[in-house]
Structure formats: C-alpha cells, structure tokens
Amino acid sequence: MQKDVEITTPNFVTAATVAAQLHQILSMGEQLQMTALNAAIISARAGEQGKTFGPLTDGINTLAKNIQTLVLDIDNKSVGFSRKSIMEMNHQRQQEAFNKACNLHGEDGPNHNKISILRDKILTDRNNIQQELLGNLSEMGHLMKEISTSLRPTDYLVANCRIEASHITDFCGAFNDVAEMVASTSKQISENIKKSNSLLIQLQETV
C-alpha cells in the first residue's frame, strides 16, 4: 500500500533555518568588535585629538555585545521550539493512530468510549503544545525586534564619527572607514533580521 504524501518542510527545520540565519549575525557582531578595536587603535595614534572617539568606540562595542547576547538568546528559544515542535508532530501521529484505532474498534465496540477519551486527551495535549509553540515564536519575534531597536543608535554613531573625523585631518580617512564599516554591518544585520522575521511569520502561520 503506497501512500501519496505531500512533503512539506517540518516546522522544526524552518526554526533551525531561522536560527542558522540569525547565527550569521554573530560574525557580524565580531566584525563590529573588530571595527571598535580598530577605531581604538586609530584614536590612540591620533593622540589628544583622538580622545573624542572614546565614547564612539565604546558605543560600537556595547552594541556588538548586546546583539550577540540577543542572538544567543534566540538560539536557545529556537532549540526549545524545535523540541516542542517534534513533540507536536509525535502528538499528531499519536492522534492519527488513536483515530484509526477508534474507527477500527467500531462505535459498538466494548471499549469505544475509553478509546475516544484517550484520543480526545491527545488532541487537547496537542492544542496546548501548539499554544506553547506560538508563545515561543512570539518570544523569538520580540528578541528580534530588540536587535532592530538596538541598531537604531548606529545612525547617530556613524554620523558622529564622520563629524569628528572631519576635525582631524591626519586620520580623517581612517575614521571615515570606521563609519563606513559600522554603517554597512548594521545594514547587513537589519537585512538579516528582516529575512529571519519573514520566516518567523511563515512559521507562525503553519503552527
């Protein structure tokens, strides 16, 4: 007996894809930290004039660390989601098995009521797991929003960097490079979040 099965991507695979995609942000965060380090070296070389870059360097560093923490947090949530999602798949399978048993046993079978109660209990459990899955996704969504929010000050950091750079002729180019690097990394992170978010929405619809 061959069954026709429509193959759809299981939710736990999509969740892993989201996590893997967000993982790329970790290396972007590292990139930001490298940029901050670079900026600190240039500041030191610029001597007295470079001191104005201190707060900027710190700002970039803090931003990088915050983002990395948030990504790791989402990572954990996604593992939790996957576990629960597999549990939900098992419940679906159990529900099908008990449904089938119920039908085979027949309505006039001596244990029909007891088997239906078992089947209904699995359905209730499955519904509860689905609610938990949705909760899990919305937590992931919040964390992603937090990453976007923490990116907001980068515009200010970049603009400031450019203004300060214009005052120091010797190191103007180097600081502008720093500004450029921060701007482009932050843009990459934003794009990554946007992409991950659309997958998350897709997940919310299939749970």
């Binding site: 159990q94 119920c102 244990n111 088997i115």
Partner: protein, 251 residues
C-alpha cells in the same frame, strides 16, 4: 488484522496478525495476548504501524483498563516501537523486558509505563494465578532475549525463533513442515548469530512440555512440528553473514 483463539481453558491465549493494511515493506508480525479474569498481558505488541489495529482488536477481547502488563522479548522496532503509543493508552501498565535493553527501549517513549527489568537468568509473571515463565533465549537473535512459556497451556511464545518470512494471508499454523523450512532457513542462518547460544536454548526447551510454539513472524508450530523444529534448528549452521558464498546468494 486477524485474531485467533489458541487456548481457552480457565485463561485464554489469542494471536493477532496477518494485517492486510500494513505498509508493504514492513515485516508482518504476530502479537499475542493472555487473558486471565481481569488481567491481560500482551507479548511483543509490535511496531508503530501495527498499533491502531492492535488497540482496536485487543480491546474487543479485554477491557483497556485490564491490560496490566506487556512484554518485549527484545529491543527490535517490530517488537516494541509502539511503546510510546501504549504509554498513552495504558499508562499504569508494566513493561517486562530484558534489563540490558532498558536504556534503549526507552527511546521509543516510556513516560508512564513502568519498566520491569528481566534479569539474565529469566523470571516470570503471575496473572492472578496463571503463571508464565520468562525463559532466557539470549543471542537468538538479540543479546538480551526471552521467550514466554505457559506450563498450563503448554504454549511457548518463542519471539524471533521459528520465524518465517511469509506471504500475506498465510494460515496461522504450519501445515507442511518440510515445505515450511524453506521460508525459515535464510532467516535463521542470517539473523541468529551463534551456534553455541542455539544449543543452549535447544537443551533448555527440550525439557519443556510444549503443544504450541508461537513465533513472532510467520506460522505457529503445533504438536510434533515443535519437535521437528528443534531437530531442524539443531542441525542448522547459523551466523552466516561472513560466509562469502552466503553473502553472494542474498545480494
């Protein structure tokens, strides 16, 4: 799925199998149940696919709450991968299974059912007066493996020993023993690893009074066919996977 009453004298033995609706590539299995009054005991309840008809059929004979015990002769998926489902259906039941497989069998899901380890030397269960013995059959084919013997009904549930690869819809009992050996030979030569273990088991089983030998696949042996099986098995050289000639034949 079909069911057939094997014994009915104070307590009952029922066999379930020959499931026509099972997916083609899944090996057909026999499941057994002993019922004594308000206690029912299922042996080698089978894989996930066979669970729906099994639950539907066993509960035609016994109340679901009366299924107090199940048994797994060894850890194979065709024996016990349905455990996670039974765990939902009969959460208060006990599973009697080889101690060495506990950590493995639990992978099938065993949150509620109590795992009762069977020691290597064997054990038994008392179903309100009906005593069943767990007879060691190690390495035939699993390294921790048991048969169930009912001295009153004189039935031996022999797990994979005596198994045959049968076509769908075959009768429950062997009718022509010599003909039947063709369906058993490769299975026993390839799945059974040890001549020494085989000899151990045959010596032990020859001391028992057996009317029916009931394997987990294929047909059951009745009367003189039980003795015929033991003689046939004794003469068979098992553990053939490394024999290049055999490997070529099975390829």
């Amino acid at each position: 799925m079909k069911d057939s009453l094997l014994y009915d004298n104070g307590h009952k033995w029922i066999v379930f199998g020959r499931d026509e609706d099972k997916p083609e590539k899944i090996i057909d299995t026999n499941q057994y149940m002993v019922i004594n009054g308000k206690r029912a005991f299922i042996m080698d309840p089978g894989g996930i696919e066979v669970f729906p008809p099994m639950l539907a059929f066993v509960t035609r004979h016994a109340d679901i709450d009366n299924i107090t015990d199940i048994f797994a002769s060894h850890q194979d998926p065709d024996i016990i991968s349905s455990l996670g489902l039974w765990d939902k259906a009969i959460p208060n039941a006990r599973l009697h299974a080889p101690w060495i497989w506990e950590g493995f069998i639990r992978h099938f899901g065993c949150d509620n059912i109590t795992y009762v380890s069977i020691a290597d030397e064997g054990g038994g269960i008392d179903l309100d007066g009906t005593k069943l013995e767990f007879i060691p059959a190690h390495y035939l084919h699993a390294s921790g493996n048991f048969n169930v013997y009912d001295p009153k009904a004189k039935i031996l549930m022999s797990g994979d020993i005596g198994a045959a690869l049968e076509s769908a819809g075959a009768p429950f009992f062997v009718e022509d023993f010599d003909e039947h050996t063709k369906k058993m030979e490769y299975f026993h030569r390839r799945w059974m690893p040890s001549n020494d273990a085989k000899k151990h088991w045959i010596d032990r089983i020859r001391k028992l009074d057996i009317d029916i030998m009931a394997p987990q696949h294929g047909r059951l042996f009745k009367g003189d066919d039980v003795k015929r099986f033991l003689d046939w098995f004794e003469a068979l050289d098992v553990g053939c996977a490394n024999d290049q000639e055999e490997v070529r034949k099975s390829a």
